[in-house]
């Protein structure tokens, strides 16, 4: 619990409880705030209202059964969670992923990242009453969700990646549809920029608010847009390239001061970069298979299951016992919507993970919320909370 010395007004500081159920807390979080006049002098964050026991549930499920659970972690960018989990399991199994599947993963992952940042920036603008921007951004997100729907069969709970590839190939006419949607999204982004980038009220509410300097951000374990806003160019896609990111050209936007305005700008530019990546990947999309059909990891197609004895046996073994990896432990991280999204798996050689741990990027941000807020006005809690993009599903698992 952190607090400042009381101001010299002679009045007792007052405690107000913001949340757990409050529109500005984007989910359920309780901020016990101690205020002196209008200045926040102390804050205690209470979380855990959306805890669903992801880790315990995973330890009692087979490897492939965990994939749908990961959709529900960061529910603003579900496909990136799928990707992080599947890639960790692939590392454990030592599975190769076909190049077409890797490119498809990059395309879909970056589309999901755009959805994530659109939601965050849109919600941030909404909280100052800029409802228009929010509605535009949500409209743009809808274009992309329809695209996800076309490929995966679901808008939000996509459950798309499998071990060694994806659940299905990109459908016919996908690339045309993709380009058409990306153009629309770019138009919306331009409109949003015109609306906000020269808007004095908006900039004044964000500039100099919630500053975390670079050294302190690293000390607090920040990653992702929050760290890049302070000027540290750490991006897992560049630092430890996975999939085919080393073949694609993109830039890492960084901020200067690490305030809310920088975070907003970093996310905005990242959307542009993501669209740039998607275009390149779509151009380079090679022909080939969408999944590695290796026994023990691949759930056979139904025609195989009903048509051959090996297929039937594989299907039975994987559904009843689960795919069995070699014993060992593995950590793999990708760049999620919020920062470094890592999975730590311990395998004991059976079909269920002995330990399945998600490294939640927004835990560090919410933990640092008192530090960012204290000394600012009560009204500034809202933009600061908006800028950290707290996703309760990922935070509390």
């Amino acid at each position: 619990m952190k607090r400042l010395k009381p101001l010299e007004f002679g009045a007792e500081p007052m405690l107000i409880e913001i949340g757990p159920s409050h529109p500005a807390t984007h989910g359920i979080n309780r901020l016990s705030t101690l205020i002196d006049g209008e200045v926040v002098v102390g804050m205690d964050v209470e979380m855990g209202f959306l805890h669903r026991g992801f880790e315990k549930e995973s330890e009692n499920s087979t490897y492939v059964q965990v994939v749908p659970y990961t959709d529900r972690l960061n529910y603003v960018s579900p496909l990136l969670n799928n990707l992080a989990y599947s890639m960790t399991v692939e590392k454990l199994f030592g599975l190769e992923v076909p190049r077409r599947a890797q490119y498809a993963r990059v395309i879909m992952g970056e589309v999901t990242r755009v959805c994530d940042h659109l939601t965050c920036n849109g919600a941030m603008a909404m909280e100052f009453g800029a409802m228009t921007v929010f509605l535009w951004f949500i409209k743009a997100r809808e274009y992309l969700w329809e695209l996800l729907d076309e490929v995966t069969g679901a808008r939000l709970t996509v459950n798309w990646t499998r071990f060694g590839g994806n659940a299905n190939d990109l459908p016919d006419g996908f690339l045309t549809m993709l380009e058409e949607r990306l153009k629309k999204v770019e138009d919306v982004l331009t409109e949003g920029e015109k609306m906000l980038f020269k808007n004095k009220i908006f900039i004044d509410r964000l500039k100099g608010i919630g500053i975390i300097p670079r050294e302190r951000a690293i000390e607090l374990g920040f990653t992702g847009p929050m760290l890049r806003a302070t000027g540290e160019p750490y991006d897992v896609r560049r630092a430890e390239p996975y999939l085919v990111y080393d073949e694609l050209d993109f830039e890492i936007p960084v901020g200067e001061t690490g305030d809310c305005w920088d975070r907003f700008l970093v996310r905005n530019e990242e959307m542009r970069q993501s669209i740039h990546i998607v275009r390149q990947a779509a151009d380079k999309l090679p022909p080939g298979d969408y999944i590695n059909r290796q026994r023990n990891a691949w759930i056979p197609d139904k025609s195989e299951v009903y048509g051959s004895i090996e297929g039937l046996i594989d299907h039975f073994k994987i559904i009843m016992e689960g795919s069995t990896p070699p014993p060992g432990e593995v950590y793999h991280a990708i760049e999620g919507g919020n920062g470094e999204l890592g999975f730590y798996l311990v395998s004991d050689g059976t079909g269920k993970p002995y330990k399945c741990r998600l490294r939640p990027p927004c835990l560090n941000y919410v933990a640092a919320l008192p530090e960012m807020t204290i000394g600012h006005y009560v009204g500034d809690i809202v933009p600061i909370f908006g800028s950290i993009n707290m996703i309760a599903g990922e935070l509390e698992r």
Partner: protein, 196 residues
């Protein structure tokens, strides 16, 4: 245990760079090591672990400035020491990663807190305490993080049944919590337990 065997078989002949640095500085302190699937890992005893972590953070060849993840694993019935604290470190300047594991016995599940080395561990240690019941010595505010204060037991321990139900939290007067929070927030030195 099977995991042990896999670790031993995949152990390469040459000692990786970071492990070698720790071995040179603290001879005999590394009780096990492996580079299974490319993740460099060392196991150190909990006595004097803070020295090793301080070395890893400050040495110019290590410079692990980012604490990525802190969690525990419960090896109930599989290993002699039941718990293992697992810390993942990353160096932003040098780009390398290291996993450090510390065995913790069930009889005395306490380890030193890393709070003075990396501020990021604050909530990670609270979560670890919440889920596994490990006690972090010198942690300033070791309370439950995700679960509520009247919760009994630590759910990620292997002997906690998955379907076990806890009694519902009874309705309590709002005033009680409000008064408690007022007392605690206004005087940070207060160490009173929250009302259950």
């Amino acid at each position: 245990m099977e995991t042990k065997q896999a670790e031993n078989t995949t152990q390469p002949q040459e000692i990786p760079k970071l492990t070698a640095l720790v071995l040179e500085k603290f001879p005999g302190r590394v009780t096990a090591r492996h580079t299974c699937l490319g993740d460099e890992t060392i196991t150190i005893p909990r006595e004097g672990m803070l020295e090793v972590f301080a070395f890893l953070r400050d040495d110019k060849h290590c410079r692990f400035n980012l604490m990525v993840d802190l969690t525990a694993v419960d090896y109930l019935g599989l290993r002699e020491t039941r718990f293992e604290l697992v810390v993942h470190l990353k160096s932003l300047a040098l780009g390398h990663r290291l996993r450090v594991k510390i065995p913790v016995p069930a009889e005395d599940p306490s380890v030193d807190s890393l709070i003075n080395l990396w501020g990021a561990v604050d909530w990670y240690e609270r979560e670890c305490f919440d889920m596994y019941g490990l006690i972090f010595k010198n942690h300033p505010n070791l309370k439950r993080l995700i679960l509520y204060d009247s919760f009994v037991g630590h759910p990620l321990r292997k002997d906690y049944p998955i379907h076990l139900q806890q009694p519902r939290v009874t309705l309590r007067p709002v005033r009680e919590r409000y008064d408690y929070m007022c007392r605690v927030m206004k005087d940070p030195s207060e160490t009173e337990q929250p009302p259950l």
